[in-house]
């Protein structure tokens, strides 16, 4: 699959999400319900998009891994055959030969595991993309995208919550709708749900006006007149506020965790790319020189190559982990990514 085609997949997965997000918000009350439905739909699409991206990165990485392990197996096979000839010529004993044979058996096992992983991840991806058996075979990119040049900064989390989290927007609209439906009109005070734990309520500042509108706000009016007429409605409303507060605090925590994962995965992958893999390649290059100079045997070269190639396999997985973490973060910035 070409880079352009790979981009198309990404685009298909994100296009609808973006168009939904950028759609103008309804201006009047009749459209509030539509906005809630719209928000809920966007969250569902986003969750699917995230799951599909995860599956895609897993499938490409598994494909790359299998390719590397195929090479290791090819080399181990050559080593085992050479060992067999050494034994046949009388230059080696059965012990020397068996060691090489053991390496070959191990390489075969690892390749089988890698191929199994390759099939599993592809199938998962097909499933999420809704591809059925008759549809053309899924062709993946040969390798994962490069790491980005820089780590993106995490903007102010509360600002993100305020601007982006669709699930919170929906919940906020639901709270306003609930208040209207319950006929609660006289707010006694205002609280910011991000400042309240699920079990305690802090006194807000009464002087601040209750901003009407559809921008997400974590300031919610509190109705606790205590009047018998509305006591039941007020209790129901208070429960909704509690749930909203819990969601807002969870969302903040999710974003922080997702960012921590994104940052750590980037550091790990970058270190693999800039230190571990170059070191491994330098070792391989130096060993090749020593082999050419009759300073080490082809078996030494092979044993070391096996180790160095493993470091590339580790690198592939670190890049995969980074892109997965990036996708989780992107999703966490928009909504609750846990379906």
């Amino acid at each position: 699959m070409s880079a352009a085609a790979q981009y198309d997949i990404e685009e298909t997965l994100t296009f609808n999400v973006l168009s939904l997000l950028t759609a103008p918000y309804a201006r009047d009350i009749e459209k509030r319900r539509f906005a809630q439905v719209q928000g809920t739909l966007v969250i569902a699409v986003m969750q699917l998009a995230n799951a599909t991206r995860q599956a895609y990165f897993a499938a490409v990485a598994a494909h790359q891994s299998a390719q590397y392990l195929q090479q290791v197996k090819t080399a181990a096979e050559a080593g085992a055959e050479l060992a067999r000839r050494m034994l046949a010529a009388g230059n080696w004993n059965i012990l020397d030969q068996t060691h090489e044979q053991g390496f070959y058996a191990d390489a075969k096992r690892r390749l089988t595991q890698a191929r199994w992983q390759q099939e599993t991840t592809r199938e998962k991806l097909r499933q999420l993309m809704g591809l059925s058996g008759e549809q053309p075979a899924l062709r993946l990119a040969e390798s994962l995208p490069d790491l980005p040049q820089h780590l993106e900064d995490l903007p102010d989390v509360e600002q993100i919550l305020l601007q982006n989290r669709l699930d919170l927007k929906v919940q906020r609209m639901q709270i306003d709708a609930l208040a209207r439906r319950l006929g609660l009109t006289k707010a006694t005070r205002f609280i910011n749900v991000l400042d309240m734990g699920p079990t305690r309520v802090l006194q807000g500042d009464k002087s601040q006006p209750y901003e009407r509108g559809y921008e997400i706000s974590f300031e919610v009016p509190i109705f606790d007149s205590g009047a018998a007429r509305v006591r039941r409605a007020e209790a129901q409303y208070a429960q909704a506020i509690d749930r909203f507060a819990q969601s807002a605090v969870d969302a903040r925590s999710q974003i922080r965790q997702a960012y921590a994962a994104y940052r750590a995965c980037f550091e790990i992958a970058r270190q693999q790319r800039d230190e571990v893999v170059p070191n491994a390649k330098l070792i391989a290059a130096q060993n090749l020189l020593r082999y050419d100079a009759s300073l080490i045997s082809v078996f030494d070269l092979l044993a070391d190559a096996r180790l160095q190639i493993t470091s590339v396999d580790d690198y592939i997985h670190s890049v995969r982990d980074f892109w997965m973490a990036k996708s989780e973060l992107d999703t966490a910035l928009l909504g609750n990514f846990t379906p």
């Binding site: 994962l144 390649k281 330098l282 090749l288 020189l289 009759s294």
Partner: protein, 440 residues
């Protein structure tokens, strides 16, 4: 080339002054050093008793200052960078810019004063094996004298009582210092220049180093498994040839300061051992040989008449001593068809090195080094090398060529090139039918 550095510009000045005093310092002989690893022309004595000078293989003789009838030499013990052969340099310790240090040449009965300045990072001393000298001049650190601390200069003062071939080396942390190449030759010529007179008189030391391929400094803790075997710290093809005119009498003095014995072998001639560490061998005790074993710490001087023109191999007879750095653990592949498989394995490694990691062009320092595709690790000599008139000689280490020519002038030490063998005197391929080999 020699460089004459004024001692007053020397780094050791301040500390040396503190040790020997200003007046004595002014009296120090100037330091003479060289950065060349090639054989310098013999040093014809400008003063003192006359003698026939030696030629030091891949080395040189130190000029002296004659002061009130005493020959004064100045040895500066210091770190040096020595070319082992073109393509390889070693970080060694030596004397006066080279390792081994310069050859000291004196005459039987000469009063000799050697100033030893220590520019090493640790204490040292100089021992003069085989010399008849006062016990306090024998140089065993802290047995015969205090050790020479970094920056200090010590004076050794004795009379060269016995003609012969000697060596000098530290007797302080000597395993390390000798593993780093601290040693030199000493020749005391007979008072009578006609005694034991030869036309060409060569001298050199045998040395062994363990320098890991790609590195520069010997591993000083190696005791047995050395990977570089050298004539005067030169490995073939870095060793100079030895020359003789047809019919000349030739002496080769070889001192062994390695940790093992070396059977030294000359092609095409018989020789006798005419001199040992203990002195001239009585003529009646000599027998003809073509190989003589030189034990650890021993010196043997062989003599022969250059009887046959040609390029005659001269080498240690331990075949692995005529090879440069090599593995001692390679499996035997004789009788195994392995080309197809080794190609498969090496191409995997090559391919792997050129791979762009996971989906990106590899950048960084490592990829640059990889693209160079050097045939050998840095600063490493091929295991077997040298090319002769008929192809690759496949030698290294303790190997050189004795070049005997009819048309070489007396005293000419310039390489005359390869021997032009007369027509019909070179082994040749059989052009007729070769009978089938029958094997049972």
């Amino acid at each position: 080339m020699f460089t004459r550095r004024s001692f007053f510009n020397g780094a050791g000045l301040a500390v040396a002054a503190a040790t020997v005093g200003k007046r004595a310092l002014a009296a120090l002989p100037e330091i003479v050093s060289t950065d060349s690893a090639s054989m310098q022309p013999p040093l014809v004595p400008p003063n003192g008793r006359p003698y026939h000078p030696v030629a030091t293989l891949n080395g040189w003789s130190l000029p002296w200052r004659m002061r009130q009838g005493t020959k004064e030499f100045h040895l500066v013990a210091e770190p040096v960078v020595r070319e082992i052969a073109p393509g390889m340099k070693a970080n060694l310790w030596g004397y006066d810019g080279q390792s081994p240090g310069p050859t000291l040449e004196v005459v039987e009965g000469d009063r000799v004063r050697i100033f030893v300045t220590n520019r090493l990072p640790e204490h040292t001393s100089v021992h003069w094996p085989g010399q008849r000298l006062p016990n306090g001049m024998d140089g065993v650190s802290c047995l015969n004298q205090p050790s020479i601390k970094p920056g200090q200069t010590y004076v050794y003062d004795f009379t060269a009582q016995r003609a012969g071939t000697f060596m000098y080396h530290p007797h302080a942390d000597e395993t390390t210092q000798m593993a780093m190449g601290m040693m030199g030759s000493w020749v005391t010529h007979p008072r009578d220049p006609g005694q034991m007179r030869v036309d060409r008189d060569y001298v050199f030391l045998l040395n062994a180093y363990d320098i890991s391929p790609g590195s520069f400094t010997p591993k000083v803790s190696t005791m047995l498994d050395f990977n570089l075997w050298t004539f005067n710290s030169s490995a073939y093809p870095g060793t100079d040839p030895m020359l003789a005119r047809l019919g000349e009498r030739v002496r080769i003095r070889v001192g062994n300061l390695t940790m093992t014995n070396h059977p030294i072998h000359l092609h095409g001639h018989e020789f006798v051992v005419a001199d040992t560490d203990g002195g001239w061998t009585p003529p009646g005790s000599r027998w003809p040989e073509v190989t003589t074993d030189i034990a650890v710490g021993q010196m043997r001087a062989i003599e022969f008449t250059a009887a046959a023109p040609g390029d005659w191999a001269f080498h240690c007879h331990k075949s692995h001593h005529t090879m440069n750095a090599m593995s001692h653990t390679l499996p035997t592949t004789i009788g195994v068809e392995s080309g197809d498989l080794t190609r498969k394995i090496t191409s995997l490694v090559t391919e792997y090195m050129s791979m762009g990691g996971a989906g990106g062009a590899m950048d960084g320092a490592a990829s640059g080094a990889m693209q160079m595709q050097m045939p050998l690790p840095e600063n490493t000599l091929p295991m077997m090398t040298g090319s002769g008139p008929h192809g690759p000689i496949e030698m290294g280490g303790m190997f050189t060529v004795m070049k005997i020519r009819a048309d070489l002038a007396h005293g000419d030490y310039r390489d005359p090139g390869w021997y032009q063998a007369p027509a019909g005197s070179v082994a040749y391929p059989w052009e007729g039918e070769t009978p089938a080999v029958e094997r049972g």
